[in-house]
Symmetry: C2
Subunit: 400 residues, 2 copies
């Protein structure tokens, strides 16, 4: 029996989150014998709760193509967390929506929190003996998903961070008496994205790199910064948003998954530097741009994101469910990867940190980290501009 | 008699400041009959004070070519202000350096403060009857230089701001319940760069735009932000770093020209929004990247920057001095420009603001502003990457 397909985007966007959707739509269209509708759920799982599904086949072909260079989550996203109790009335609402539209395949494109959503849905369908397949598509610029070699979106975010920090470092070092720059990079509790700046050459890189995997020694930091500043007239530190030191977090916000909203570490550190060292400072938060920059994509990341969407659809049609697609690195030089599946329970709510073998003090990473990251930022992608401005997909979002 | 040529970079860098140097070097090399040495002064005017000049002909051809995609000021820059009194011993030191190296031509590539330097040098040479020509090359992302149609570097910075803000806006609007985003853009006391986001389409642009040319009404701002947030689940304001409102500036730093160091307006505003409206916020400062992003250049800006360097050298060789190159727009559609010269006294220390005829409330600019900016961001420039990282020029800096 033909069934419909629904795609969910969840958690923070990446520069290639819409490219996985592109791959999934392309693959789904190849199977009119099995798939009777290609839908998108608005604002993640919330679209299933509120019955807000759109017909993706009503979107223009040009916009589907532009998904490959569109930031944000075009279907809208959410950080909504499903209840633990599978008998909660919320699940009844979800089942109603799924039945109403004859959904047989669900794709959840997200990070570790989203794989929790994926896992709960799978458990629910098992319990109710419903023939609905759920497949997870991994994405997060934080690269903190367990088991997979890397996450989709990480390569492009790292490429953005590396190149942008290079431009900033060159600009920042052109005064004889400059400043102390503290550059804050995303990654929650994992340092993968911050560590990426280690790929930069010695004359255009931060002097110091701080990851949340290590204990942050504020006193040592101040001593190092002062020494570097006095020697070269400026100092540049790259810090992860997740490093921990004493600061005022009384007004911190938490999201639905109880994660503290990050950001502000660089600002707090520069204030300490000004007070303790009396040096001029500037804090630079790379902020949302680092996960949204379709202007500077990694070709490897983009191609894997598309292929991963295709692979997920194929596997769902083959009958897989409750599994997330993972990327396996099968060769380093030349880089080659392939996809496989793992149970979402093994990924849900897990965080993968940088192993200590890849780290090496506050000035640089181990060569093994460079070998790991290097292939993931390769290849430039020519994107389409119109009158000097990057084009992006616009969806009509026709509700079912 | 053959004389040497010295190039000075001054003030804040732009993405194309090194491209004007490229143009000047290329042009100077065409005149071996008139020019006997092509030198660069390290850290602006400070290089003349300390006799730290480098021989630009000793740099590799590949690095000269890469100047066209190198951020920062490759010769180093300064905000050093020359004394008012032309009989100050500092000037004696400068004259010594100039005589020692038989300098006959000085190029000062900078903004309004740098044209003050240019003017003082010209006055000094007139007074001392020295045959040394001084030509100013205009640059500033702030676009606040008087008389010239626009400043070199503005087009590329505007292109970066427009495109980056577009990516951020798309990312920022994909949650049903999002945040209030305040994006801070450079420009000192002029709103040219902030206003550039007005070129964005209605579905991917800030809801509100605040320029320093207008009085910032905090109460009205809070009312507007709340209304927009409640209506669409997020709100995005683009503000110039130079807008004025009551905040703690007791610890503000000033530079050598007595300008207050800007930055921090978005952060201060989001704190007010949180306190007064109790809405989740995020401040985003585009910071140094907006003036340093050679990854996303405006082709028009790049070509004008190169041509302006060439033009300056030609005019110096013709005997002009104490003048700055300006850009005249001779046709709007299609856009065409030509160069001319004006006395630096007319530009030095002047600030040009956006005329009121180009403004139109807090939601948009007048069409005349769009017509003005539009040609300046046109054309993409393919830059060279190596293993996923943008290449940049490296100078050996061989001292004379």
């Amino acid at each position: 029996m033909k069934k419909a397909f629904v795609y969910i985007q969840s958690g923070g966007p990446t520069a290639v989150i819409n490219s996985s959707l592109y791959g999934a739509i392309k693959e789904a269209k190849k199977h009119p014998d099995l798939i009777e509708g290609i839908y998108g759920s608005l604002n993640g799982i919330e679209g299933l709760l509120d019955d807000r599904l759109i017909d993706l086949e009503k979107e223009e072909e040009e916009d589907i193509e532009l998904l490959k260079q569109t930031p944000g989550a075009i279907l809208g996203t959410t950080r909504y967390k499903l209840p633990k109790d599978l008998h909660d009335p919320k699940y009844t609402k979800i089942i109603e929506t799924l039945n109403r539209h004859n959904i047989g395949y669900i794709f959840v494109n997200g990070g570790n929190d989203s794989m929790d959503t994926c896992h709960k849905l799978h458990m629910l369908f098992e319990e109710l003996h419903l023939d609905i397949k759920v497949i997870g598509i991994p994405k997060t610029v934080d690269n903190d998903l367990a088991i997979t070699d890397h996450s989709l979106g990480y390569g492009s975010a790292a490429k953005y961070v590396i190149n942008t920090v290079k431009e900033i470092c060159i600009d920042a070092s052109c005064y004889k008496k400059g400043k102390v720059f503290v550059i804050e990079i995303m990654g929650r509790n994992a340092g993968w994205l911050t560590a990426s700046v280690d790929l930069l050459p010695s004359d255009a890189r931060p002097d110091l790199i701080f990851l949340p995997e290590n204990v942050f020694d504020l006193e040592k930091f101040l001593v190092d910064i002062k020494e570097i500043y006095l020697r070269q007239g400026h100092a540049i530190a790259a810090i992860s948003e997740g490093i921990v030191f004493e600061r005022d977090t009384s007004s911190a916000r938490v999201d639905a998954f109880n994660h503290i909203q990050l950001g502000g570490a660089a600002d707090a550190l520069t204030k300490i530097i000004e007070k303790r060292l009396d040096l001029p400072t500037r804090s630079i938060e790379l902020s949302l741009a680092q996960r949204a920059y379709d202007i500077l994509l990694s070709k490897v990341d983009l191609e894997e994101a598309i292929a991963c969407g295709e692979f997920g659809v194929k596997k769902a049609l083959e009958g897989h469910s409750g599994e997330m697609v993972i990327i396996k690195r099968i060769s380093e030089k030349p880089y080659r990867s392939e996809f496989a599946l793992v149970d979402t329970i093994n990924v849900a709510n897990e965080e993968r940190m940088i192993p200590s073998s890849m780290m090496k003090g506050v000035k640089m990473m181990d060569q093994s980290f460079r070998d790991y990251l290097y292939p993931l930022i390769q290849g430039e992608v020519p994107v389409k501009f119109e009158d000097g401005i990057i084009k992006a997909a616009r969806f009509k979002k026709v509700l079912l």
